[in-house]
């Protein structure tokens, strides 16, 4: 994905692409409908959301203690724990583990955190073969692209486009647009890879502190293959994925799968608690976990924005976002797109670099309504907008606070404040606007490309209410 283009360029490219728009529109309609069917009762849904939200809030309010406990229990389960502060550190740790094991071929389960650290690129540079085994990720890797959705990485592609990619890379199979056939072919290809791989890498959905258990949600069985067949398993996760107790998992899993894909439960749910024990016939001989910070602890310190970290990566916010539906995931140019992306990424990478993402939101509130852990996404997005133009960079909780301050824009709002903050000025303005018909600001920009210009009424409501004899005390 070309990252040198501007956000506006990427948006315009996406909007010009009819096929892309129709791919996203039909996929999002489908996902919204599936989710809706799973939550017929609003009251029950609200209860579930309350429970899930408080579990995640509890994780965050005890984050440091839970992480220490998690480390202890993972270690006592013979799982080696590594801490990585940055993406580079995480990549180096993983590379070192692989090198020590002389591992050259890797199979990988779907994991957004490894997208975040760009692990594939890092390892390929070191001549390590790393293969995505989730079907969507596999296709994206073949096409040399990035995921456009955090749950459905290849959702931007139509069936025809997928068939074409597949045929180009595997001419030995007859061309087909039958999804079941393509899946069967991919399965054949991947089976051998699982068998031969020196190591498997996966993400983590929930890391249970109490028991040192890693939970992995998936639909294709590839996650289980990656974590059980090769002799070495490395799991990578953001530090925020920790939960306190085993009993926290059930409610989170329940609302995660229903929110994400409208499934009662996924086809596979793995709870990994140790490498192969003596007498066991399968499982990796050794296991490692990389706990990644990469900006998370800084978000955690910011009381107003901390809720960002409650996210369980269901993708429901993007499925319901009318902006995401229009432009798709790639337009954002970030690993996490959609409402959670425009909330998380400017905090991680700084407002200077990514503050403009927050403009891609009409504040319609749809995301906040569906979020299974009740992250107030519209409120956080709005707060980031204010940080961008009014924030003080001395308060370094968010890098680049105040960096989008524009004197021209500020002047416009100061003028607005002068008019609307003073009833006397407003009455003169209102009189002039209605009688002279002027008001439409010159900065209205492209409004007129899609719409006519609104014309003020001849009389204001104030005048009409007066004339009609309403009290105006």
């Amino acid at each position: 994905m070309p990252r040198t283009e501007t956000f506006t360029d990427r948006i315009n490219d996406a909007l010009d692409n009819e096929q892309l728009h129709s791919n996203f529109r039909s996929a999002m309609n489908y996902l919204m409908e599936k989710r809706r069917d799973k939550f017929p009762d609003q009251e029950k849904l609200d209860n579930l959301r309350n429970i899930a939200s408080s579990i995640r809030a509890n994780s965050l309010s005890n984050l440091a203690d839970l992480l220490i406990k998690l480390e202890e229990n993972l270690e006592s389960n013979n799982i080696t724990v590594h801490w990585a502060e940055t993406d580079l550190e995480a990549n180096n740790i993983i590379y070192q583990i692989l090198k020590d094991a002389n591992a050259k071929t890797i199979v990988k389960g779907k994991s957004m955190v490894t997208e975040e650290i760009e692990l594939n690129e890092f390892l390929e540079d070191k001549d390590i073969e790393i293969l995505e085994t989730d079907l969507g990720e596999f296709l994206i890797q073949l096409a040399n692209e990035k995921p456009s959705h955090i749950v459905m990485p290849a959702i931007h592609k139509s069936r025809k486009e997928i068939s074409k990619v597949f045929a180009e890379h595997f001419p030995e199979f007859p061309y087909t647009e039958d999804v079941d056939l393509i899946t069967q072919q991919a399965r054949k290809i991947l089976r051998d890879k699982f068998r031969q791989a020196d190591a498997g890498i996966s993400g983590v959905n929930f890391a249970v502190a109490e028991t040192g258990t890693l939970c992995l949600v998936e639909n294709e069985g590839n996650g289980r293959m990656c974590t059980t067949v090769p002799p070495l398993h490395i799991a990578v996760t953001g530090i925020e994925k920790v939960v306190e107790k085993l009993s926290d998992v059930a409610p989170l899993l329940d609302i995660l799968t229903k929110s994400a894909t409208g499934q009662e439960i996924t086809t596979y749910f793995n709870m990994i608690s140790s490498p192969r024990r003596e007498g066991e016939k399968d499982g990796p001989k050794s296991m490692h976990v990389v706990l990644l910070d990469n900006g998370r602890s800084k978000i955690h310190q910011n009381n107003e924005m901390q809720e960002t970290l409650k996210c369980i990566r269901c993708g429901s916010c993007m499925n319901h976002c009318p902006v995401y539906t229009q432009v798709g995931g790639h337009a954002y140019g970030t690993v996490y797109p959609g409402p959670i992306g425009i909330t998380l990424e400017p905090q991680k990478q700084g407002i200077t670099q990514l503050g403009e993402l927050t403009s891609a939101c009409s504040l319609c509130g749809a995301c906040g309504e569906v979020c299974p852990v009740q992250i107030p996404l519209p409120k956080l997005i709005n707060k980031l907008r204010s940080e961008a133009v009014e924030g003080n960079n001395a308060n370094e909780l968010i890098e680049g606070a105040g960096s989008k301050r524009s004197s021209l824009e500020l002047l416009a709002w100061k003028n607005w404040r002068l008019l609307y903050g003073n009833p006397f000025f407003y009455s003169i303005f209102s009189k002039a606007a209605t009688t002279l018909g002027f008001i439409t600001p010159k900065t209205i920009g492209k409004w007129g490309k899609y719409r006519t210009t609104p014309i003020p009424s001849k009389h204001s409501l104030k005048e009409m209410a007066n004339k009609a004899g309403f009290d105006n005390e």
Binding site: C361, A366, V389, W416, R417, Y420
Partner: protein, 246 residues
């Protein structure tokens, strides 16, 4: 609640662009025996600047509004969006300010117009109009913030000669979003196109909504597309159909 007196906050958009909708709202209330006060010094709830990140500019505007509503009586607003701003965001806007208590006491008294007509007044309407087909666009603020979006449907359901046609994208934003329509004009344009396509596909002759922001966006887009589909605020629509014209 035995209400006999309310403040009416017209909103800045209604004041200058859709005063008939505001006046109709006041007349609907008056017909129920309510004394309606229209404070002449009112301007705006502060939302445009607040949603653009300019909270420091938003605050004095919101503050000037507080003074308009001294009596402890309901404040009725013909907009889910402006009502939502006061009711749900003033707490954030006034956070740490000395007058936050006063601001919150105003916020507590805020009602969106259709909410007030249905929940507080239990209005009963008699349809005097010609048969017509309409489609309803509920504003995002009415749905997601105020959670009163279905009140508009309760009211319209009382009109015997009005047929309501469902639009395909009922719970989707029209793409207005205040300055969003200017800052991300092309995304907003694509959104309003999808919205107007869905509305036009219904065979309705007018679109009714409880928010003039949406109506301005949708109405101006329809006009640009040379569509015959008209837009009208719920207050004006109800008043037109239920008051005896002499």
């Amino acid at each position: 609640m035995a209400v006999n007196e309310v403040y009416f906050m017209g909103t800045c958009l209604v004041d200058l662009f859709y005063p008939k909708a505001g006046l109709a709202g006041m007349q609907l209330l008056k017909r129920e025996g309510i004394k309606v006060i229209y404070p002449s010094k009112q301007t705006c709830c502060g939302q445009p600047a607040f949603n653009s990140g300019y909270r420091k500019e938003s605050l004095p505007v919101a503050r000037s509004l507080i003074k308009c509503f001294p009596k402890d009586i309901p404040i009725v607003i013909p907009s889910g969006s402006c009502a939502g701003m006061i009711k749900h965001h003033w707490s954030e806007l006034f956070e740490g300010e000395s007058d936050i208590e006063t601001a919150l006491s105003v916020a507590e008294r805020v009602y969106e117009l259709t909410e007030f007509l249905v929940d507080e007044l239990n209005v009963e309407l008699t349809d005097l109009g010609e048969p017509t087909k309409i489609t309803i666009h509920t504003s995002c603020a009415s749905r997601n913030e105020m959670k009163i979006a279905e009140r508009i449907e309760d009211l319209v359901a009382q009109l015997s000669k009005v047929e309501v046609l469902e639009q395909e994208r009922k719970s989707e934003c029209c793409g207005f979003g205040g300055t969003f329509a200017v800052k991300q004009a092309d995304i907003s344009g694509a959104m309003v196109k999808d919205k107007t396509d869905a509305l036009k596909a219904t065979d309705a002759s007018s679109v009714i909504s409880q928010d003039c922001g949406c109506l301005m966006n949708i109405g101006c887009a329809l006009e640009k597309q040379n569509s015959k589909l008209k837009t009208q605020h719920i207050a004006e629509f109800l008043w037109d159909r239920t008051h005896a014209k002499n």
